[in-house]
């Protein structure tokens, strides 16, 4: 412990230099932990968007389901999807099952026709678990969207909710009438007249330009679907058990493919990969800056204490004990810097979140969002450990230099 005490005294000897070094460590901690909190917000937002955008926590789909056009028809479907949904609702881990039909076709206003991608949902269940209200709120703010509401639960109602881009392309507005055209399971052409119940902003331009939602009853009339369903979105009681439940349900339902939401949310995965790469690069640069700045400071401190080290060695201190002395100095800088960095992070996080700053819409999306930096203890611990390792590394070279000093030369040093 004498070496630790000596190291602490040495840091206090050059207070200004120590303070400057600490500032570098604090700045590194602050930048990385705030970036980590921002990333957590982004990931959380994307995950919520994917889960509540229709995927649920798990998707049950036909084993042969692919990502091509056949996925947008009943060509590949769960033949008795409704019965399967009823069976799954009895599972203790399942909160709800939302059957869906995915289809495509043409939407016509009489004057214009536009291709669409459609999803048929249960209008009574869907708003309880999915982000229908938020999408409608966005849709109500565009021209023609005033009065947007969710689909009627009446099985006789023939209504549609349009993506804002699709409505714009057709010149459609809430209350208007359109014709849905598609092919039945047997391949016959069919059409259904629908009223526009609302417009929805799904957050992504590509979806807004093509996407519409109808009730299962409407789709059934259009497609002659019977009990067949394209997919079942499963909402779990404990979302944190998604991976375990996916494995369990896959065993229970071997005739289907059970997929977790994150395997299907390709946008989420791409953004996560991109952010992790950016964060990794930024972290590398910051750790390098901290490494160079602190190594320089510790080296200067060694050069100023050559004679002192000579005396300590003459007194019997072993070379590895000098190395340990410098490691202690690095350790104190790391611990103190991370502690101050954490305090600064929490303060700045609180301040930034209180400002309710609006961020611009990310590329490919249609609206911005409010900045909210998450509190992420795992990021703080990881950053602190990374900085600690950097400090220990930065103390290594000066420590080796001190340990290699020849005593007689060190004692002559002026």
């Amino acid at each position: 412990m004498i070496l630790a005490r000596l190291a602490l005294r040495n840091l206090l000897r050059q207070r200004r230099r120590t303070a400057l070094t600490l500032m570098v460590v604090v700045a590194g901690f602050l930048a990385l932990s705030l970036a980590g909190g921002f990333m957590a917000q982004t990931f959380q937002g994307l995950a919520d968007g994917a889960i509540r955008g229709g995927l649920g926590h798990l998707q049950v789909m036909p084993r042969e389901a692919g990502g091509g056009d056949e996925a947008q028809s009943l060509e590949q479907s769960l033949p008795d999807g409704e019965a399967l949904a009823a069976r799954l609702r009895g599972d203790p881990a399942v909160a709800e099952v939302l059957p869906r039909i995915q289809f495509m076709g043409l939407l016509s206003s009489g004057a214009k026709s536009v291709a669409f991608l459609g999803t048929a949902v249960d209008p009574a269940l869907e708003p309880k678990y999915m982000a229908c209200a938020e999408a409608l709120k966005g849709g109500a703010q565009v021209p023609g969207g005033a009065g947007s509401r969710w689909l009627s639960a009446d099985p006789a109602a023939r209504e549609v909710i349009l993506g804002v881009g699709l409505a714009r392309a057709l010149g459609a507005s809430v209350g208007g009438s359109l014709t849905l055209m598609s092919t039945t399971r047997e391949g016959a052409l069919n059409a259904v007249d629908v009223d526009v119940a609302g417009l929805q902003d799904l957050g992504l331009r590509e979806l807004n330009d093509r996407f519409l939602t109808v009730s299962l009853a409407t789709a059934n009339q259009l497609l002659d679907a019977g009990p067949a369903r394209s997919r079942l979105s499963v909402v779990l009681k404990r979302p944190q058990d998604t991976v375990a439940e996916q494995a369990r349900l896959q065993v229970l339902l071997p005739e289907t493919s059970v997929q977790p939401w994150f395997e299907l949310a390709s946008f989420y995965r791409q953004v996560k990969l991109l952010y992790v790469a950016i964060f990794g690069f930024m972290g590398l640069v910051l750790f390098l800056i901290v490494l160079l700045a602190t190594a320089n400071t510790l080296l200067m401190s060694v050069l100023e204490r050559v004679r002192e080290f000579g005396v300590l060695r003459a007194m019997g201190l072993q070379p590895q004990q000098l190395l340990a002395l410098l490691q202690w100095e690095g350790a104190f800088l790391g611990v103190l810097g991370s502690a101050l960095g954490l305090a600064a992070t929490l303060l700045l996080r609180a301040g930034l979140n209180a400002l309710h700053l609006q961020l611009p819409a990310p590329p490919g999306t249609s609206h911005g969002y409010e900045l909210y930096i998450h509190f992420v203890p795992t990021v703080y611990v990881a950053v602190a450990l990374g900085l600690q390792a950097t400090l220990q590394l930065s103390a290594l070279f000066p420590g080796l230099k001190a340990a290699r000093l020849r005593i007689v030369e060190a004692l002559r040093h002026v």
Binding site: L6, R13, G316, L317, Q318, Q321, L411
Partner: protein
Amino acid sequence: MLELRNLTRAYELGGERAGVFGVSLEVPKGCLAVLAGPSGSGKTTLLQLAGLLDQPDEGEVRLAGQSVSNLPEKARCDLRLRRLGFVFQAFNLVPVLSALENVMLPLQLQGMEDGEARRRAGAALDRVGLADRAHHRPGQLSGGQQQRAAIARALAPEPLLVLADEPTASLDHAPGGPLMDLMAELARERGVTFLVASHDPSVIARAHRVFRLADGRLVEQD
């Protein structure tokens, strides 16, 4: 106590060969011995060899009857820590530690408990008349006080041999006599052996034995 046998350590200095050449001498236990001679005569080099701070090109250092000059580094460190004490011309106290903490340092490095180290360091400072300045840092002490603290630091681990390199040379405004009287007392009281390098007449006058060096060779002893 200390025996140097035919020690040679040569190095280049300003294009010329310097160092010590074939020096043999013996210092008995409890003796205050002085290495005398002009600057460049090899006093410091010989002291460093005797103190295991450097290794001879040839010859042997024997301490308490054992050859110690060719020991591995770890054993040399251990010997310096437990059996040898050093007093330097420029005092060389650790500036961030108080006088008491400086004296405690070698004891703590030996692994001694803080309480015991504090007690022994306090006694050592008391013995050199510096008890009332124990909590002052080196910068708050005069040159003489710093040198007495350095002697206390060298003595606290109860070494067999204390090596002092020009201990009075930095005492600009204080005579070296009292410091040497203190060393002589300690040699007599505790049986500590001192080997002091100096060209100060007041130091030489108080020595039990004097070894005179010139051009790296022992030219006279009395």
